[in-house]
């Protein structure tokens, strides 16, 4: 798979986690692509922390409205039934457990479900935006990311960068497979048969608990 195929592979697998009626917040970058793979037979309510529920596809020239953007500042549309609200209600929704699933990218995730994705000291300081509230408040936190960064593992025994939150990640989806994070560690529950279990283990610093993982279907 090339880079774009990898991103679509990850995004399409994440989209299978949603249930009818779920409120879902998709982070910037790869997680945004998940919107392209939403199942058509159920209703997913996409929330955006700048103040809307019912995030629709990118506008065309015809329905473009500069007053409707997502949390990345990109123009979006509002679906029927959607609505706007202010930042305090937006974070009551987020912090209060009213978001069923949040999907974010990450620089590092570790065995305890801690993640780091908002700062590389001395190098990159974008700020945490709404990410800390999202991972703390959402019922389920899914990290959607490439398994490694230039060959270096991102799934670690313990994060080395400043944390975004402690013990909050429930699931990791990468091009190599799907991992559940439980009290006893990271379980590889599905894997991409383009990689061997040994490949995946060696690309992962954290210990992987492996009990008969399912082979994923790869349709590119």
């Amino acid at each position: 798979m090339d880079k774009l195929q990898i991103r679509d592979f990850i995004a399409s697998r994440v989209a299978k986690e949603f249930k009818d009626g779920d409120v879902v917040n998709l982070g910037i970058g790869l997680p945004t692509l998940v919107a392209n793979f939403l199942p058509s037979d159920i209703t997913i309510n996409l929330q955006s922390e700048n103040g809307l529920i019912g995030l629709g596809p990118k506008p065309t020239e015809v329905n473009f409205d500069k007053d409707i953007t997502n949390a990345g500042g990109q123009p979006v549309t509002l679906l029927e039934g959607g609505m706007y609200f202010d930042s305090t209600l937006s974070f009551s929704i987020i912090r209060g457990g009213h978001v069923d699933v949040t999907v974010l990218g990450s620089l590092q995730v570790d065995e305890t479900g801690s993640l780091a994705n908002w700062i590389i000291p001395g190098k990159m300081v974008p700020g945490m935006g709404g990410a800390m509230d999202l991972v703390t408040g959402a019922k389920k936190v899914i990290i959607a990311m490439t398994h490694t960064n230039r060959g270096k593992p991102k799934i670690l025994k313990s994060c080395t960068l400043p944390l975004t939150a402690k013990n909050q990640v429930n699931m990791i989806v990468t091009e190599m497979g799907v991992m559940d994070i439980k009290d006893d560690g990271i379980h590889l529950i599905e894997y991409n048969p383009e990689y061997s279990i040994e490949d995946i283990k060696s690309a992962t610093e954290a210990n992987l608990i492996i009990n008969d993982p399912i082979k994923m279907k790869v349709e590119v």
Partner: protein, 215 residues
């Protein structure tokens, strides 16, 4: 309209060293023409409280580029590379706050609360120097209220009494900031006779001055 002033009068209400909350989220809901006027006035050593650092050439980024900002309190500065540069070089103090905590601290400032307990930031450097309080078996950070001297907001529709409505995602931080500063100035896209009393988002009692945007 009683509260309406001219754009040129903005200078009478700002001064060096003041703290200003600026509405908007990635410049959506930021009153661009009032920012332009602040650049023109050249008021400096400002503390700016805003969700973000704007975008290059838009929003509070203009004040940052023009060297008017001494301190920035925001949740995200990633889309304005210059802010990160000035921060790294020590030319602008920058305090990063989780977005929900930022909104809630401003709300506490406007609502007369002494603070609130949030789970956001527990186990991270956000808790450094703050009191941790355990209640119901869970740790929370005690976060304190945030207020400022002035709020500069974008009201989509303002009525003759000063009631404000914000359209679509321009609402964001605008209504909560209206409650948390000594002075509130709203940049209006349009002024109408009246707004349906059920749909007022910022009651007129919070609004000190309204400046109409000249298009």
């Amino acid at each position: 309209m009683k509260k309406q002033i001219k754009l040129e009068e903005l200078k009478n209400h700002v001064h060096d060293g003041m703290s200003i909350m600026v509405g908007g989220f990635m410049v959506v809901g930021t009153p661009e023409f009032l920012i332009d006027e602040l650049v023109k006035i050249g008021v400096k050593d400002l503390t700016i409280i805003c969700n973000d650092a704007g975008l290059p050439g838009s929003g509070v980024a203009k004040l940052i580029t023009n060297g008017q900002v001494k301190k920035l309190i925001a949740s995200h500065i990633g889309l304005n590379p210059e802010a990160g540069k000035l921060m790294s070089e020590g030319l602008m103090e920058c305090i990063l706050i989780p977005q929900g905590t930022l909104a809630e601290r401003i709300r506490a400032g406007g609502a007369g609360l002494g603070g609130f307990l949030t789970p956001t930031g527990i186990g991270t450097i956000v808790e450094d120097g703050k009191q941790i309080i355990n209640t119901g078996g869970k740790d929370y950070i005690l976060e304190l209220p945030l207020r400022a001297d002035l709020a500069i907001l974008e009201g989509t529709t303002v009525d003759l009494f000063g009631n404000v409505m914000y359209t679509k995602t321009t609402r964001n931080f605008n209504p909560v900031m209206a409650t948390a500063t000594d002075l509130v100035i709203v940049g209006a896209r349009e002024i109408v006779k009246s707004i349906d009393p059920d749909n007022v988002m910022t009651p007129h009692i919070f609004v000190d001055y309204v400046i109409m945007e000249e298009l």
